[in-house]
Symmetry: C2
Subunit: 99 residues, 2 copies
């Protein structure tokens, strides 16, 4: 699924213009990015929770050279799926669509 699919869903479900739907989708994710950029938790019931956590690992490794690299501190964005997404059935043996 890509952004265009979401826009199409909005156009067919809400009867707004495509331009407005595009703006709406853009605003959703832009607002979320801004909140996460401020370190702000996002809780969307029945979808999930985005958390911003300090990223704290000591040593990484450059797989190319094998050389150890110190991982700098920063923020990590984590998503915890909400209840509906946590209780998905076990995957079928057929591969998932690409997107």
């Amino acid at each position: 699924m890509i952004k265009l699919d979401i826009v199409n869903a909005i156009v067919s479900k809400t009867n707004v213009t495509r331009t407005k739907a595009e703006q709406a989708v853009e605003t959703v994710f832009e607002a979320m990015k801004n909140a996460l950029g401020r370190g702000e938790r996002i809780e969307l019931r029945r979808f999930g929770v985005f958390n911003v956590k300090p990223r704290k690992t000591g040593i990484g490794r450059n797989p190319r050279t094998g050389q150890q690299v110190s991982i700098p501190p920063g923020k990590a964005v984590r998503f915890k799926p909400g209840k509906e997404l946590q209780t998905l059935p076990a995957p079928a043996s057929t591969p998932a669509p690409k997107s």
Copy 2:
């Protein structure tokens, strides 16, 4: 941040009615939930990628009783932040807003 904040952002940025904005936001996350429920990957450039993966862990534990519990197989929804969210600066010493 909660759903209402996103709705407000859409109302102020796109000049649609509040009702339409609420429907749009609902549709965004409903569409995403449906896609993930189908095991479908979601790629949103500059926001991140949601993937559905098989979940396979063995033993859990009831924190109340200490009793072991077998964790059944299922699907796990994972979010990988996009580039902009991966390079957030280190957290300030002030705590993040609750939401």
